[in-house]
Structure formats: C-alpha cells, structure tokens
Symmetry: C2
Subunit: 366 residues, 2 copies
C-alpha cells in the first residue's frame, strides 16, 4: 500500500460537536499543522454556534467532510459509530486517518477493520471531561496534561501515527500508545469498575432515611461519579463487557478477602490491605490542573466581606507573589472563611505568611 504523502497542513473533520469534539476543534484550530477544521453535528443550532465560538471553520455534511478530510475524528457516542462508518466508507480516500474519542477501544478497532484499504484507523481516548456537557463546555485547555491514549491498527505506518501525534501536540495532552485490549483492561480497572462500585455503594442507602444526612466527605467523594449521566454507560458496559466482568470478579474477591479477615479478627491482614492501598493511592498526584509542576500551600482565615479575595491577591501581588492555586475551604457568612492559597515556592509561602500577618490576617503554611 502506497502512503499518501502528508500535506504540510492537514484538513480535519470533526463529527460530533459535544464537549470533546468541540474542545478538540478549539485546539486544532490553533495547530500549525492544521489548515482547516470542518465539523458536523446533527443539531443545526450546534453547527452554527460552533462556528460562532471558533470551534470549527465551517460545517460540512458527513459524506462531504469525510471525502475532503485528511484526518477524521469521530466524537459521537460509541453506539453511533457503525452507522456513521457505513455512510462514510465509500467516500474515504486512501491515506485518510480516522480516529475517535470513545471510552473503549477493542470493539471500536473491530468496527474500523472494515474500512477501505489504505485508510488508517487509529483509535483514540482522551481521558478528560467536564461537568459542563456539550458544546457549552468546550474548553481550549480540556486536554492539558490529560492522558490521551492512541490505539493504532496493526498496519498503520509509524509516520502516519506520528502525523496524528503531531497535530494533537497542541492539546498539551500526554499521548500514550497502547494496544486496544490493554487500554480496555486498564480503563475497566480505573474507570468502569470504580463507577459500578459507586453505584453499588449508593444503592446500599436506598430507601433508608438518615443515611444521606450522615453522608460526609468520604461518601461524597467515593460516590461522586454515580451522579454522572447513565446514558453513556450502556455503550461502555456493552463495548467493554469482557474486561469489566473480569475486574468485577477481582473486586468481589478483594471484598470477600476483607470480609474473611474481619470475621477472623485478622487485623494484621486488614492493616496490610489498608497500608498497601494507601501506598498505591499516594502515588496518584493531586489533580493535574496545568503544567505547574508543584506549589506550596498556605492557609489563611479572612473576614467575609466584598473584595476580600481581591485584597488577598492585591497584597500578595504587590510583593510579587503569584497565587497559582486558590481554594475556599470553608466560609461562614458574616464571620469569615478559611482559604487555601498555592504559591510557586517555599520561599514565596514563607513570605506570603509574613505579609498576610502584617495585614492582620491569620495565616500559616500547610
């Protein structure tokens, strides 16, 4: 198979302008490797808004866009792939790259097997999301530092894979190349099973008054994902059933092991389990929110009055101290609040505490 020489600038076609597709558009329009971003969404309003928001240059229907594109991103639900591929297959030119952003990859790569010879299928899964769904959530920085898995089909030449990686560089994502089956096993363990566990945990409290009243931070964190919209899960459970069943068995076995240890008062074993979990969990860094490698925290207690946050920023800004992270830990109306500030260095943290204290604000390094 002859490889179509890559044009210096590529034409991209994004099918589906939801959160991921639209955020991808915002990124790719900034890429020096991309000449045009075409888009399609089944909702005509979304198409128009996407142009207004700078997400795409213009829209094309699926057949026309697929014919013209050098790179196609499928950004629709997994369940829609089969039909879209059926409708585009005949127009795809050899040399075209087709990728997607779906949450599972093994079944997707099977669907891609039917593509015409010379069309290069490279599955994709950017592991980023937002609580704001759809076009409205489109965010230039959505993929910044997020892991973005690529699962190239077996025939894809290295230079084709590299050209896809090149145009994705603008997203700031951490690209990882892996086999589709490996990807699916990994996401079963770190995404799909935690979701099902959260569902099972929440449903423990079903119909029992009082449970939710007592639900403090731990329960809230552990079960947060159970609040996400169930629609996408039908596809995920169907497309990744095999790996999910394997991991579900492992989880149940782990819980039964804990139960046995409790029954037998084997606190030594329970302790080992708890410490092991802590050791593993502590390796996960705090939420990556950017390229800032690390920062130092200070905590301060401030009165609750208009402009106080601005005042904090002003006081520290005057001293050349940049606030790189800020979190309101607790606020009591009329009586003040506790605020965490992240500053770039230990020295800045020490200075910030001194400066804030000089202004009568209780502050300490965390």
């Amino acid at each position: 198979m002859k490889i179509k020489p890559m044009a210096p600038k590529l034409k991209v076609f994004i099918i589906g302008l939801g959160l991921i597709g639209a955020s991808l558009g915002l990124n790719l329009r900034d890429s020096s490797r991309v000449v045009t971003v075409m888009g399609f969404d089944q909702n005509p309003d979304t198409r128009d808004q996407a142009i207004d928001m700078g997400v795409i240059d213009y829209w094309k229907n699926i057949a026309d866009g697929a014919r013209e594109a050098d790179v196609i991103f499928l950004c629709t639900p997994l369940g829609s792939y089969r039909e879209i591929l059926a409708n585009t297959r005949i127009v795809l030119r050899p040399g075209t790259i087709i990728s997607d952003v779906g949450s599972t990859k093994e079944e997707v790569m099977k669907l891609f097997q039917d593509l015409p010879a010379g069309v290069w299928a490279i599955g994709g899964h950017p592991m980023a999301g937002s609580e704001i769904k759809g076009l409205a959530g489109a965010d230039r920085y959505l993929f910044e530092n997020a892991v973005y898995c690529l699962t190239p089909g077996p025939q894809v030449p290295a230079e084709v894979l590299e050209s896809l990686i090149d145009i994705l560089a603008v997203t700031g994502a951490r690209i990882r190349i892996m086999e589709a089956a490996v990807h699916d096993e990994l996401v079963a363990a770190v995404s799909h099973i935690p979701h099902l566990a959260a569902v099972a945990l929440v449903n423990l409290t079903q119909g029992r008054e009082g449970y939710l009243m007592l639900a403090a931070g731990g329960f809230r964190d552990t079960t947060r994902i159970a609040s996400s919209h169930p629609e996408i899960w039908n596809d995920i459970l169907l497309f990744n059933r095999h790996h999910i069943l394997d991991k579900l068995d492992e989880l149940i076995a782990n819980l039964q092991d804990i139960k046995q240890a409790l029954v037998q008062s084997n606190f030594q074993h329970l302790n080992e389990e708890l410490w092991q979990a802590k050791a593993i969990r502590d390796q996960i860094p705090r939420a990556h929110r950017g390229l800032i490698p690390s920062f130092h925290d200070i905590v301060c207690i401030v009165p609750d009055k208009p402009g106080i946050i601005g005042q904090l920023g002003f006081i520290l800004g005057q001293e050349g101290i940049n606030i790189v992270d800020i979190e309101i830990l607790r606020v009591r109306e009329g009586d003040g609040g506790t605020i965490r500030l992240g500053v770039p260095s230990e020295a800045a943290a020490r200075k910030a505490v001194t400066v804030l204290k000089d202004h009568g604000i209780k502050a300490w390094q965390r």
Copy 2:
C-alpha cells in the same frame, strides 16, 4: 437520682487536643454557656501550644480536670477510652456529663455503662475532618454545618441532653439525636464500607504498570479516602465489626447483581441501577462549606500572570460584587487558566460577566 442543677456557665474539660478536640476547644471558648475550657494532651508541647493558640484556657492532668469539670469530652482514639475511664471513674461527681467524639457509638456506650450513678454519658460523633491532622488543623469552623450525632444513654434526663446541645450550638453543627446502634449502622453504610471499597478498588491496580497513569478524576475521587491514615481504622473495624460485616455482605450482593445483569445482557436492569444511584446521589448537596445557602457560578478564562486573581477580585469588588466562592479549574503556565467564581445572585452573575468582558476577560455564566 437527683440532678445537679446546671450552673449558668459550665466548666469543660477536653481530653486529647488533636484536630477534633482542639477545634472543639476553639468553639467552646466562644460559647456564652462555657466559663472555662480545660484541656489535657499526653504531649506536653501540644498542651502549651493549645494555650498559645487559644484552644484551651489552661491544662489539667486527667484526674484533676475530670474532678472539676461539668462536661468532659473524650477526644482521644477509641482504643484509649477504657484506660482513661478506669483512671477517672473514682473522681467523677454526680451530674457530670461525659461525652466523646469517636467514630462508633455502640461499644463506646457499653464502656460508659460502668460509670458512677448520676454521671451522664452522652456519646458524640461530629462528622467533620480535615486533611491537616492534630492541633495544627484546629479550626473554629470545622463543625459548621456538619452533622453532629449524639447518642444519650437511656437514663439521661432531657434537660441534661439539652444543656449539652446548648453548649454545642456555638459550633454551628447540625445536632442529631439517635440510638447508638442506629448510628453505627448508618456510618457503616456511608463511611466504613465506602472506605473498604476504596481500599479494594485501589488494590485492584496492585503491581500493574500503567493503571495509575490512566487514573483520571473518577478513580481519584472514588479512592481518595484510601489515602487516609490506616491507624484509626483498626479501632473502627474492631468497634463496628458487626455492622460493617452486614453492610459488606450487602455491597457484595449488589456487585454480584450487577455482574449477573452484565452476563445476561440485562441492560434494562443495569440502567435501573444506574438511574437509581444517580437519583439518590443527586440528593446529596455539594460540599457544605458554610452557611451560604447558594450561589451562582460564572467561569472565566484569564491570562496566567502575577496578581490576576487579585485583579479579578478588584474588578468585581469595585462594582460591589462579592466573590463567595472561587475555584481554579485549569491552569496552563504562561498561557492562562480557567477560573470558576461564585457570586451571591443571578443578577450579580450577569453583571460580573458584563464587567469582566468589558475588561477583555472571556467570561460566561455556568
């Protein structure tokens, strides 16, 4: 039994000046119902620091403090209760209230059964915590809006219970009276089992390269509590074993039910489970961080330069718009970030968007 008439102002003795004990001290020193807060900690430095920080008025050894106090709070690990009670029993005067802040209550109330007649045992469990442990985490607002369970012994007169509730009012906690066994069943479901589930989930990834690399927000949230310190869990697992075993069986049954539905491709049932979990989970409000009943969110994209947060606060403060919540959603060094701001009203949110846009800052209502 004659009830000692409650003095208008009570003497409090806090045994154990860790996070909870010290935060309680900061609160009770502000209470109009409390005349003196005495404290004890086995670490002499902690005792001195607690006085410096205004956590206690002065320190007393356990026997002297217990003899003088009207109300005693046991704020040490559950495993230490037996010894402390053995050492204080003989000095306790009738009419004294003894309470605690431990995570389980049924076994604690059994320990309290041996107290002298007329000493009133009221178990307590404030459901609040902080990642900063010990005295250093002491926080006047720790209990604000948190649920604070009280489990009075069967003989405790209503007016005695009321006087404890009165002095706790200053904490801003939501006091809930319940039986110790009910408390323990509830916390097994919403605290202890989620913890063990997080441990089991994390241990799924043991020894497998690549898992943690893919651990996105869902896994991070779901397993966060597995990073907490295992030490306290020995006591909890021991003291609440009975209820934990019951709920562990329920959780395993829920997971097996999900597994069966997956094996049988019963997506209708899976959907029902997912939707039910979402409906229940959605009833839990966002983290209470204060008495602010609600606020309206705006999101803005700002350049990343020193003082930008101060500038945002300054711009909005000038217009009389108070920032009541702030969260950095994403930052990219040298290129700007996405910030969520909470303001008190819909009108303020609309105005803030306009004002920020006038200053060239991209902003929208969420």
